[in-house]
């Protein structure tokens, strides 16, 4: 699946997107964050306050307990500040 990062999440991770293949035990957005944090410093920095981070699966806002099965694109970003 493809991951996308925006705003300071993108800056901290150091890339706008990447393709990953999480192991079968990773079934929710929350578990995906835990798995990403274990991958390195930049991810740990981006997700240091995981409750602040918003997520979207295939362009729809989701809560962190959402299942990721079947997702093509998961995005992580800070709270929105548009308008």
């Amino acid at each position: 699946m493809k991951l996308k990062y925006f705003a300071w999440v993108r800056e901290r991770i150091g890339k706008p997107e990447e393709t990953i293949e999480p192991p079968p035990g990773v079934t929710t957005v929350e578990e995906l964050i835990v798995w990403l944090v274990a991958r390195g410093e930049t991810y740990a920095h981006a997700f240091e306050k995981p409750r602040v981070i918003r997520a979207a699966i295939d362009h729809a806002h989701v809560k962190q307990d959402a299942a990721i099965a079947g997702a093509r694109e998961i995005a992580f970003f800070p709270p929105m500040t548009g308008g």
Partner: protein, 155 residues
Amino acid sequence: MTDNITVRIQETDFDIAREIAGLTAERSDIGAVVSFTGVCRGSEEGSAIAALTLEHYPGMAEAEIARHAETAMSRWPLFGIRVVHRVGRITPGENIVLVVTASKHRQAAFEAAEFMMDYLKANAPFWKRVEAAGGTKWIEARDHDDAAAARWTKS
């Protein structure tokens, strides 16, 4: 009435009169048109800024705004909604966002424009970064924008 919804995300400025004309042309049943223009202020939280840079989630932003415009069309008797949101670098005094609503009567046009703006501030996938003398910094979301968006939730 058929849904007359236009959503554009662009780097260039918009012409308010042209956007209003685009929404209302060829109709004689519109009695009320409301426009909201969000403008880049010269200061944020008391400090002067040089510019804002706006980032968005391409694809999701357009689709989400259009979905909320459809919700507005179903909740108020509207003839149409037009939203233009700029991204990229924007300096003080420049336009950021435009919402135009058209209806037979004024109350629907006002309420739908407020509904769209509350959504755009709190829930549309856009992020603002401030450029100031001390460097650049992302603007943090404000609780009262969440509260403003929440007041439209049906109980």
